[in-house]
Amino acid sequence: MIKLGHRILIKQLSNLHANHLAIQTVGPSTQDLVIYFDFEKSFSLESPEGTNIWEKFEDFSSPTGLSFSGWVGFFGYEFLGSQFGVSLKAPRDLDLPPLWFGRPQSIIRLESENTIIESTDEVREREIKKILGQTIIPSALANPQNPPTCNLNFKEYESIFKKAREAILDGETYQIKISQRFDAPTRLNPLAAFGKLHKSNPAPEAFLLQTPSFAIVSCSPETIIQKEGRKITTRPIGGTYQRKDSSFDGSVIERFLQDPKEVAEHNMLVDLERNDLSTICEQGTVEIRKFREVESYSHLHHLVSTITGRLKKGISLRNIVQAMLPGGSITGCPKVRTMQWIDQLEPCFRGPYTGSFGSIADNGDIQLNLIIRAMLILGDHCYTQAGGGIVVDSTTEYEFKENQTKAQALLDLLK
């Protein structure tokens, strides 16, 4: 382990020229980051309904001996759907794997005034220190060709919205999340994009996953699974208000907390997450720790609750993922029937969007987020998807605009 005694800049990581690189926000401060690289034994799948991958996570034969030993990567939405028992048919119109995980052999921890380098190989540790000290070759953030387009114009969104509303009136679904995908013909530098996003929009679950074929950059605010020992925590976000001017935060937040639509939407999510935890937790241990707190980000205010439980004995990673994912805040309720409706109504597959990124440690601890507020970088294009919950009182114009607002922090990267 090497401590540098100062915090390096995110752009200095570009000197590593890593094929695969992941950055995860950890701990209470959104400034504490862990960078994972030098991956070994990585795997992905050809099809979201592919073979059983769970035994791979249980191969503890090569502990790294570092402060983190385990797997880092992402599960796509369709893989999680198939694990949950819902087979999704929407066309996979982008070329990237349904999931990817790897075992990092080197990590860098960025703390407020420190940088800690760890690697399984001491020679590599010294090499990393040297590389990080080299002059940075500046790289352009983005090379915008044309403005982004959206896969749904207002009329198309409106037609989907009407069908979703009818489904709600029939009791088919109580709340359904419908998303739009924005496509920009822009080549984006993943590391530079993460650096910019992290500065403008620090978030508790911000991350980067960079591979030779695709990259995901995100300022996700939402933790879906935090597991330490047998304690499991989820922090569902439901309810969103626009934040245009922070000087009005006080009165806007007051209105937000009294808005019956937002309150009902959040209540539903709390019951849904209690349910998912109850699938894997001991009876009587599922508790609402924090209820309906407001968290403010650059463009938005959110309602957040914290729910915890104590896992039953013998619960596996697979049991946890199947119970909790896909997260209720990005499907709607009840999950199974609602996911089938989303699959029919949305024009394309979701891929990493509304999947889950995070770390799965050999000791069983887990930190998994919801992949929202994320930019997928794929060759000469980048894509960001944004959606919102449609409930009976929703209005088309408002929801359409809210999706745009949610995408804005990401679209700002293209400027």
Binding site: V270, D271, N275
Partner: protein
């Protein structure tokens, strides 16, 4: 043992944990439940779920088969399923309620609400309702025990002779403060000796 017949709802496990305060509970999908599963139970609970009762012919058949042989409780969709089988109609509500805490008007003399603290506030998740104009078609043993105070929406029933109960709202929701007592009342009434004697005669 209490058996929950699940309609793949996202609130079933909350119901399981609530009922587990009183007895062992098993959750079984309505498509894979066996007669032996039901026979091993002291009570059969029809879970909430999406859609309307007509989407679940298996559950409708189980209700008809088991009526009078075992105590049964329907929650939300399960409530509507029993009511529809008994002759009332299901219609869309004027005001759809999902995730709403609502104070309801209860019959304090009923078994279901015996000793339940007032005001009774419950969590509601429903698009559809029982058409109150069709209540007259029910057999008189079915007693409506609560209503929405503004709109004429029946919200629970009990049939003490056949030990059938139904709640349109969600007693397992964190919004339903008296849910535990209501379930306790229903279970207590269902397990009592008089009923056992009636069954064996």
């Amino acid at each position: 043992m209490i058996t929950i017949l699940d309609h793949r709802d996202s609130f079933t496990r909350n119901l399981e944990h609530l009922l587990a305060e009183f007895d062992k509970v098993q959750v079984i999908d309505r498509k894979s439940i066996s007669f032996a599963d039901i026979q091993a139970s002291k009570m059969l609970v029809f879970s909430p779920g999406p859609g309307c009762p007509g989407d679940y012919p298996e559950s409708q058949a189980i209700y008809q088969e088991m009526k009078g042989k075992i105590p049964m409780l329907g929650i939300c969709l399960g409530f509507q399923l029993i009511m529809e089988q008994e002759g009332s109609k299901i219609i869309r509500q004027n005001q759809v309620l999902h995730g709403v805490e609502s104070e309801i008007m209860v019959d304090k003399k009923s078994v279901t609400y015996r000793g339940v603290a007032t005001p009774v506030k419950v969590g509601r998740y429903h698009s559809l309702q029982i058409d109150s104009n069709t209540l007259k078609d029910l057999s008189p043993e079915f007693k409506i025990t609560s209503n929405d105070p503004i709109r004429n929406v029946p919200l629970s029933f009990e049939n003490l002779k056949l030990k059938l109960f139904g709640l349109q709202y969600h007693p397992e929701s964190f919004l339903s403060k008296g849910g535990n007592k209501i379930i306790s009342n229903i279970l207590h009434e269902s397990m009592e000796q008089r009923w056992k004697a009636h069954r064996s005669s």
